[in-house]
Chain length 330, copies 3
């Protein structure tokens, strides 16, 4: 919107968080604010009564144009633990099949005074489109749009890295696998860069790298062991079966031999290195079960952190509204 | 039931609302009571905490034998904002596929002490059947049954008309499109007639009109501009693609040329006329985007009003019970 | 787990209920405790406000690997009436299709601090597998696993029998139909045996009986009337259409003639006999409508009792945690 500072669609006029669309363009202080808020939400999960009234009476819509039970579940649970009312709309099976446009769907939900939208869509930019369209009172979280971004994933990744390895600016981080099709990789790279990570590496076969990937500020490796050498953090990306079918890769077995993370290849990393994976894992394809279930894996803590991150983002977006509600600048 | 006055299945023995099955047969005072109650629910949507405890501890089942995310969503949200527990049952994917009958399904839910049923069904009369079957404590809302009725739609239509144009008894109203297959048209016509609308027009090709439609108290036009002449309210009906396939119509383009609402044809109506559409719209088929997004369209307010109407109906049906609960006549 | 007494996976170290996986191996005092707790939950369904705060702030996941709207609905409603947050995950349409294993799915949900899992799975033993895997704080309810067990069904059956016919140790009970494929039969037989039922009969064609069924402590009949002679309780099992297709049976009509319960065959039972059915019924296949809707059927009370049983089990599993939470033995 024209009144967003510098045209940044994620910021409100008072420079607080207005939408969460991508890590790219998210100022460091807002990113840190989310991480710090998430710390305080972590402990709610430990209680018997895992609930706060933060979003009581607010309506959050999970609008999913792609199936993703896992992501939908974490957002649904985050919103419910904040006491929001949650509507799950799986648009694959809904009125879109009757030909309604995305923005007509949004307009309808806005007319019901929905407070926030959590959107997953196969097209890059879908949630930006919605964010430009909604009223100033409503907010949008991008829960994954095409190959573009998945910002809560990037946030939970750096949250996890920071909590295990300390300040990001001292770390060497490698991301391994299908960088080309991965919104997870893209979001993590931006988050790491924002927090000053001095050494970000991507490790992948040429067919799974975007053109001019170096422009993201990363170093490119085609050899796994060379790329892992001395790193503190390894993120293994999920390999979609479709890549194989599209002949971008020879076979699962050959992929695993070259780019799969086994205990042997893990030896090339720093002895205290941690291993991340966004899930769901293909055991034996991109990661060996011995590593996935081993002492260096922080894959399940990522899930726990992901819930806290989503609660933090939801509460910041909802809270950012309150003092504004009666006197919105326009 | 035998103890319903005059056999009217929607009335309780004390003449209050017992079920909402169709506008036909709904006495004017009850219709007005719903509209007036809806006024008070409108403002809840404006608050930060969009929630009242009216239905706390009550269980509402959305029992949908036809997919309709939009209608299901409004009822789900209405019930949640009234603090009810909501169960969504999509019967296409449920035990009906195991061969259980509609009434066995209802009996089962009744045995779980469900308070109310919101039913959408492909067969006309399905919710009447259920209403005759349930215990006196339970209530039924018809959320669309075949071509027969969609009473909350009729109510939100007259609510919207009244709030923009004042008393219905002074208005000329045109309904345009597929009258034959439309429960929306039928419900709106009955609502307008109940409130004393002196001039109701239907505008449609002969293939999309029911036999003896004049018996509903409407005037029939086959020419759009002639029919729109001087009207205060225009309701455009959604054109189902299936009509085309069934050869009831030549093509979308020809349909739009003859019966689609463009700014030019809108000129024939009163300059202050408003445009309604039940949604979802087929832009460029029955309505031009310039009209749909223009200043005369009240299509999104219809959605807002629809939520308030559904909250009003739910609360009346639930409230009607309370003083009766210990001494039901039988 | 190794610290479960006698290796019984359903018991906690203090011998209270830790999981509900099968009636087999459930000690009589725990079974009775569930029945008695259910009595107190029965009346909640009668109230206007059908809700208690017992599970407030707890998260219950309905993890269904088989479609069953009916069972999912009863567990969802039971959890909601106890004020829990409920997540419905239908795994047929979720990330399992992305190849994630059952235990990875469970680990993920555990990482979100889910309190309890209600699991339906096509494979016998699935919920045992999960119960062995989860943290000591979490609990598992088996909502049906293959042909193995459906313990809440067995509990609601004996609850219903007890409330209509008094002490189980005085009763003759017949179970009729597809014993071979029925987890319902198996669970009811174990529940009856635990409560000292002296005369349990199964009545079925040879093709629908498991090998060595007598080892369950039942008497086998192939003739319906002979088997029904003098019984106090009759449980009719649902006949799956698939059995017909698999040529285990000649035709529905012939099955009904031999094993369907009509008023005439009912005459062979005790005049005060009651008729149970787990639902959904195939009217005219295993049970005649005159019987299903007749005065001896307690099929709908079974549903009411099933909800109370599920509330009782949920509250016992949740409650069993509280005093333990700070000092778990390990």
């Amino acid at each position: 919107m024209s009144n967003r500072p510098g045209g940044n669609p994620q910021l409100r006029p008072d420079r607080r968080l207005g939408h969460l669309l991508s890590i790219e363009g998210l100022p460091e202080h807002l990113l840190l604010e989310i991480l710090n808020t998430a710390e305080s939400f972590l402990q709610i999960g430990e209680r018997a009564v895992k609930k706060t009234p933060t979003l009581r009476g607010r309506t959050v819509v999970n609008l999913f144009f792609e199936n993703s039970t896992r992501t939908r579940t974490t957002f649904e649970l985050a919103a419910k633990r904040l006491s929001a009312d949650v509507l799950n709309i799986n648009v694959a099976t809904s009125s879109r099949s009757k030909g309604e446009s995305l923005l007509d769907t949004i307009d309808n939900l806005m007319a019901m005074h929905v407070d926030g939208f959590v959107i997953r869509h196969q097209d890059a930019g879908a949630s930006h489109l919605v964010a430009r369209h909604v009223d100033q009172d409503a907010w949008v979280i991008n829960a994954g749009d095409g190959r573009h971004a998945h910002p809560t994933q990037g946030l939970l990744d750096v949250f996890t890295i920071r909590s295990y390895k300390g300040p990001i600016e001292n770390l060497k981080v490698a991301i391994v696998g299908d960088i080309l099709h991965s919104r997870v990789a893209r979001s993590q790279i931006h988050a790491l860069a924002t927090l000053g990570c001095p050494d970000i590496r991507v490790i992948a076969p040429k067919t799974l790298l975007p053109a001019q990937v170096e422009h993201l500020g990363v170093r490119v490796y085609h050899d796994l062991r060379e790329g892992l050498y001395g790193v503190d953090v390894i993120t293994m990306l999920r390999l979609q079966k479709e890549r194989m079918e599209a002949s971008l890769l020879p076979s699962f077995a050959e992929y695993f031999a070259e780019y799969g993370l086994s205990e042997r290849s893990l030896d090339y990393a720093d002895p205290a290195a941690i291993v991340l994976h966004p899930g769901p894992m293909n055991r034996g394809v991109e990661i060996d079960s011995a590593v996935a279930d081993g002492p260096r894996a922080v894959i399940l803590p990522q899930v726990t952190h992901g819930l806290a991150i989503r609660m933090a983002v939801l509460s910041q977006l909802a809270g950012a509204r309150e003092p504004q509600q009666t006197g919105n600048p326009s």
